[in-house]
């Protein structure tokens, strides 16, 4: 999975990391992934998509409720929600 040295997690940096991560899962170039499109449209169905959260948790070394992915189905929404949550807990 892509490595990142992000220290302060902004919605933007999280969005870049998530796009890379999703691209690896889908075996397609990152620039073909639209961060405003629901991930389920790319075939990342509900349960499989949770494994993206698992990677994100390991990457950020934080514990997240996996259902955050279901409440925020696009990369844009998810990065925004995560950045807010990290700011709250950081």
């Amino acid at each position: 999975m892509p490595e990142s040295d992000v220290e302060i997690h902004t919605a933007q940096s999280l969005g870049r990391w998530l796009t890379e991560c999703v691209a690896v899962h889908l075996s397609r170039p990152a620039d073909t992934i639209d961060s405003a499109v629901p991930l389920s449209d790319y075939g990342l169905d509900s349960v499989y998509a949770l494994s993206v959260i698992a990677e994100l948790e390991d990457h950020l070394d934080v514990s997240l409720d996996p259902a955050v992915m279901w409440d925020n189905p696009t990369i844009d929404a998810l990065s925004k929600a995560l950045a807010e949550e990290l700011a709250l807990n950081g």
Partner: protein
């Protein structure tokens, strides 16, 4: 059709204190398990509702075992489906496991029919409003049957494809449910049904909600029961379906938040899939008991079958299979309390491994003893019946494939966690030492994904180190140390292979399922090893060695001929047990060995 006036909630839910049809909760310290076992012994006698003749006759007629279920109601078994906080007696999942195992040891049709009420109610326990949960608890205490309707005719395990719809009534006056649920255990008999329905046209993981539908509060004609489906096993069970015709349910029928049905049910399944092990363990007990009696009583050329070396070896392997299933099941139900956040892994292992292991041991016994007449050894076809009945356990409540897929989805985290030895040590001790009191189960700790991996397996290398330490001080045999060392190596290699699995969504490669099966074997062996290490004085080391011999064989690892002789120790333990008893880790660990 929609002009129904729901009765007031109190109409059917109220129960004056002390009027329950079920005996009052027993005082602290009461152990229901031996009481139930005693009752079942009594009821298996001639003419009893649990007698071989009565159950075989019902099975032939595909008739529901109503009398047997009533006897369990009178005993008060339904109380153990209701958590103490909602007015019942359920405070330890290992007790329910043992109760349902005792019933399953006699008859799986009865166990599946009776135990289903827990699955029907569990969503309300973990996500429902406390008042609603208390009312449901009272109803169950009075003998109400609760079912759970998830699947539909054309979608099988694919819950997100469900077409049954719930539409909110105008002014928030309730919900209208429409569509067909099918192939559901107890749905026609049930008084209440938990229904998963689409509440957002687009669907998706937040597009479904759960409803607790009280049939007695529906307008006439709101439901059409569908005919009983003839089945290969559990022939007497009510496996049927239900069509909802714009059925109006009150707004308090909604369980938890609207849109959260999939999340709630996936978490609920973490518990019920684990609970299913009880039925497999009971079937395994029954199979081995029948085989032990049969091999002792039947001769081949004047020699009892039980004295033939190849028969003894197969009996021993079958016992080892049951002990591994039991170790997995025991640790898994304790993990519901102690490692709650890891149940996305633990329940998948338990539900995939335990039924498959029992199917295997039944097949092993039949392969060896079928030609001599095992199927009808007792004159009532009991072995044939349990073989048929048990097939369903690996399918319902999430099939083995569904559960293995869930494991494969978690491979990256499981392999990382194993490499780092990441585990919840305190939870692991609690889950693997029956002498440690269990903490209360906290539904809020359930998680769709285990955050840490699986402590049972991540703790394997440390457990193997401990065996080597014991061997160095002669407190364990070198034979055990050698078997444990090979297990560790196999687990190391397996996790490397798991880490290398990459796949696109929904395209799980076939070999990943095989890795999942090997993972289950490592989990089972680790569970047995942890249990033994907590109480090495209570369980014969040869039993543990025999379990490791079976696991290593199934993993395709080399095992020596001398090592296999430990299987014969298990055959002896089976053949010398008192009638009706089979070797059990739980009994040994608790010092209640028959």
């Amino acid at each position: 059709m929609t002009t129904t006036t729901p009765r007031s909630p109190g109409a059917t839910d109220a129960a004056a204190p002390g009027t329950s049809a079920v005996p009052a909760a027993p005082p602290g310290g009461y152990d229901a398990v031996p009481e139930l076992v005693r009752l079942l012994d009594e009821l298996t006698g001639d003419e009893g509702p649990f007698s071989g003749a009565a159950l075989a006759a019902l099975d032939t007629r595909e008739a529901f075992p109503a009398q047997a279920c009533r006897a369990l109601d009178e005993f008060g078994l339904p109380r153990y489906y209701v958590p103490v906080e909602h007015g019942g007696s359920l405070d330890d999942f290992s007790t329910v496991m043992r109760l349902l195992r005792a019933v399953s040891r006699v008859d799986l049709t009865v166990a599946a029919a009776h135990g289903k009420t827990y699955l029907g109610a569990v969503s309300t326990w973990i996500a429902g409003d406390p008042d609603r949960a208390a009312r449901l608890g009272r109803r169950i205490g009075e003998g109400a049957v609760v079912s759970c309707a998830l699947t539909e005719r054309h979608h099988g395990s694919d819950l997100l494809a469900g077409e049954v719809t719930a539409r909110e009534a105008e002014g928030g006056a309730g919900w209208h449910i429409t569509g067909e649920k099918w192939l559901i255990n107890n749905i026609t008999r049930a008084d209440l049904v938990t229904v998963l329905a689409r509440t957002s046209p687009a669907g998706g993981p937040r597009g479904f909600s759960l409803f607790l539908v009280d049939k007695s509060r529906l307008a006439p004609g709101a439901l059409t029961p569908l005919p009983k489906v003839p089945t290969y096993g559990i022939r007497g069970a009510d496996i049927s379906g239900m069509e909802f015709h714009d059925a109006l349910v009150p707004s308090d029928a909604l369980i938890g938040e609207a849109g959260h049905g999939v999340e709630i049910i996936l978490k609920a399944l973490h518990i019920t899939r684990t609970g299913c092990v009880a039925m497999s363990l009971g079937a395994g007990d029954h199979a081995l008991d029948l085989a032990a009696r049969f091999t002792t009583a039947t001769t081949d050329g004047g020699t009892p079958l039980a004295e033939l070396p190849h028969v003894r070896r197969e009996l021993g392997a079958a016992v080892a299979g049951l002990l591994l299933a039991e170790a997995t099941g025991l640790v898994a139900v304790r993990a519901v309390h102690a490692l709650t956040g890891e149940m996305s892994v633990v329940s998948a292992v338990a539900k995939a491994y335990v039924p498959a292991q029992v199917d295997d041991l039944v097949a092993r016994l039949l392969h060896t003893l079928g030609p001599y007449g095992l199927l009808d050894a007792d004159g009532h076809g009991s072995f044939a019946k349990l073989e048929r009945d048990h097939r369903i356990i690996g399918i319902f409540d999430g099939s083995s494939l569904v559960n293995r897929n869930a494991l494969v989805d978690q491979f990256p985290r499981l392999s990382r966690g194993y490499r780092k030895g990441r585990r919840d040590e305190q939870g692991l001790v609690e889950a693997t030492d029956p002498g440690v009191p269990l903490r209360p189960f906290r539904p809020q700790a359930l998680s769709l994904l285990s955050g840490i991996g699986a402590s049972v397996v991540a703790g394997l290398p440390a457990a193997v180190d401990r065996v080597h330490d014991l061997a160095a001080s002669e407190a364990a045999s070198d034979r055990l140390a050698s078997l444990a060392g090979r297990l560790r190596q196999a687990a190391d290699r397996l996790h490397e292979e798991m880490a290398a699995v990459r796949f696109a969504p929904r395209a799980v490669p076939g070999h990943a399922f095989e890795l999942a099966e090997r993972y289950e074997l490592c989990f089972a062996a680790a569970a047995a090893l942890h249990l033994w290490l907590r109480r090495p004085d209570r369980v014969d080391e040869a039993w543990l060695r025999a379990c490791l011999v079976l696991v290593l064989t199934e993993l395709g690892e080399p095992v020596g001929d001398t090592e296999r002789e430990d299987l014969d120790t298990l055959a002896d333990a089976l053949l010398t047990a008192r009638p009706g008893a089979v070797p059990s880790l739980i009994d040994s660990l608790e010092g209640t060995t028959p």
